[in-house]
Symmetry: C2
Amino acid sequence: MDGTPRNEDALTALMTMLRPDIEACNAVIMGKMASPVALIPRLAAHIIAAGGKRLRPLLTMAAARMCGYDPAGQRHVVLAACVEFIHTATLLHDDVVDESALRRGQASANALFGNQASVLVGDFLFARSFQLMIQDGSLPVMAILAGASATIAEGEVLQLMTQNDTGTTEEQYLEVIHGKTAALFAAAARLGAVVAGRPMAEEEALDAYGRNLGVAFQLVDDALDYAADQAVLGKTVGDDFREGKISLPVIVAFARGDEAQRLFWRRTLEEGEQGEDDLAEAQRLITRHGALAETFARARDYGAAALTALAIFPDSAEKRALAAVVDYCIERAR
Amino acid sequence: MDGTPRNEDALTALMTMLRPDIEACNAVIMGKMASPVALIPRLAAHIIAAGGKRLRPLLTMAAARMCGYDPAGQRHVVLAACVEFIHTATLLHDDVVDESALRRGQASANALFGNQASVLVGDFLFARSFQLMIQDGSLPVMAILAGASATIAEGEVLQLMTQNDTGTTEEQYLEVIHGKTAALFAAAARLGAVVAGRPMAEEEALDAYGRNLGVAFQLVDDALDYAADQAVLGKTVGDDFREGKISLPVIVAFARGDEAQRLFWRRTLEEGEQGEDDLAEAQRLITRHGALAETFARARDYGAAALTALAIFPDSAEKRALAAVVDYCIERAR
C-alpha cells in the first residue's frame, strides 16, 4: 500500500473527508442521548465527549462511502451512532468496580455512585441504540449489531474468567479480544456494505477487515499498558497489571520466564500481592523477554490481514483512508 | 369481578391452563441462555431458576391466548422469553445498583459472582433478548420492548437521583415506579394483543392493564419492605430503608410527621446514619401514620384500574385469570 497516507495525518484526512457525515453523526448522538432524566445526558455526554477518535463509527461511515452508498442517504450516519452508543455502553459497564475492590479501599463512596449510574446509563444507551436500529428498520442490520453485542458480553465474561489466572493460554486470550473488541469493529465496518446493498462477499471482506483491525488495535492497547509514556498517551500505564488481567505481553513473558519469574507473576497477578516496584519489574521482564516486540509483531500481522481483506475493493480515497486507519492503530505504539 | 378465582389459587389455575406454553417458554429460556462461556449459563440459571413466578412472561402468554392468538403459534412463547430475559437483566443490574444481599431468598448473583459478572451477564441476556426479537421479525414488537428497556433505565436512574432525598414528591416516586416496574408489565401484556393482530384499542387496553398492575405490584412491594415477615417473603425487610430509597410509605410518614420525626427521616435516609433500632422506629412511624394502609389502598386503586382496562374483552378463562393476577399481586400483602 505504498503512497497511501499514514498514521495520524491519514486519520485527520479521513475525518476531513467525512466531515459532513461526522457532524451529522454527532448530532444524532447528542439528540438521542436526550432524556427527561437529567443525569442520563450529563453522564453520557461526559463519556462520549471525552470520546477519543470515534474510530468505530468512522469505520461504518467510511465503509459505506467506499461501497458507494447513496450520497443523499443518512442511514450510515444513524447506524454509526448506534455503534458508538453500544461502544459507550460497554465502556460504562467496564468501569464498574467489584465489591472486592471496594473492600480493599480502592474506591470511594463516590465510586459507588459511579457504579450505579454507570450501569444504568449504559443500559439506557444500549436500549437507545436498539430503538435507533428499529427506526432504521433493517433486520440484517439489527442481527449484526445484536450479535456483536452478545459476543462482546461473552468476551468480557471470558476475560473475567481468565483474570488472575496465569495459566491462561494465548488461544483463550485471543478469544477474549476477538469478543470484547474485534466483534464491534467487524460489525461497524460490515454495516457499510449492508447499507450500500453490496453483495455478501463485500460484507464479509469488511467484516474481516474490521475484525483483524480490532484484534490489532487491542494487541497494541495491551502492549501499551506496559510500555507507554503515561503523559503522552493520557492513559494510565499498569491498569491491566493492577487488575490481574492476563494479556499477551504477560503470557509471552510468563512462557519465556524461569521458575523465579513465574513465581513473581503468580504472586502479583494471581494472588494480587503487589508492592511499589512490581509494575517496574513486570515491565523489565516483559521487555527482557521481547514480549512487547512479539505483541507488536502480532498486531502487524493482524493489520496486514486487515489490509488484505480490503483487496477486493477498487481503489478510492475511502479505501486508502481505511488502509491508513490500520497504520494509525498500529503506529500508536511509536 | 365476583366469582372469579382469587389470589394464589388463581395464579396456580392460570399456570395450569398455560402449562404447555410455560414449558415451551422455559425451553426457549434455557436454550437461549446457552453460551460457550460457561459462567454465563451458570449465572443466568442461578437467577432464572431461582424463578419467582415468571409473572411478566405469564402476562404475555395469557394475553395472547385471551386475544385468540393462533393455537398452533409459538411467537407469544418466544416473546415471553424475551420479556423474562429483559427482566432478568434488570435484576442482575439492580443487584449491582442496590448492593442487596438477598434476591428471591437466595444470595444475590453479585454476592456470589461479583458485580462485574452480574453486569456482563445482564448485558448478554439483554443482547440475547434482542436477537430473539429479531428472529421473530416484527418491528412493532421490537419497538415496544426496546422502548420499555429505555424507560426502565430512565426509571432506575431517576430512582438513583431521588435516593437519600426526603424532599422527593409523590409524583416523582410514581414516575420512578412507572419506569422501573410498570413499563415492562405494560409491554408484556401489550405484546399479547400484538402477536394476535388485534386492533390498537386492545393493545392499549392491555398496556393500561399491565401498567396499572405494575404500579400496584411495586406499591405492594414497597409497603412489604417495611411490613413483611422476612422468612415468608424471602426478601430482606428494610432494604429500602438501609439504602435510603424514598418510597411511598416514607413519603406519607414524612408528610404526616412532626419536626422531630422529619429529623429522624433526614438523619437515617439522607445522611445514612442508622443505628440498631432505627428500622424498628421507621416501621413504628410508618404504621402510626397509616402509611402502609395508605400505600395498600393506593395499590388497590391501581389494581381496580387494571381490572377496568380489561372490560373491553369478552369473558374467557384467560380474562378471569388475568383479573385474578391483580388480586394475587395485591393480596401478597396479607
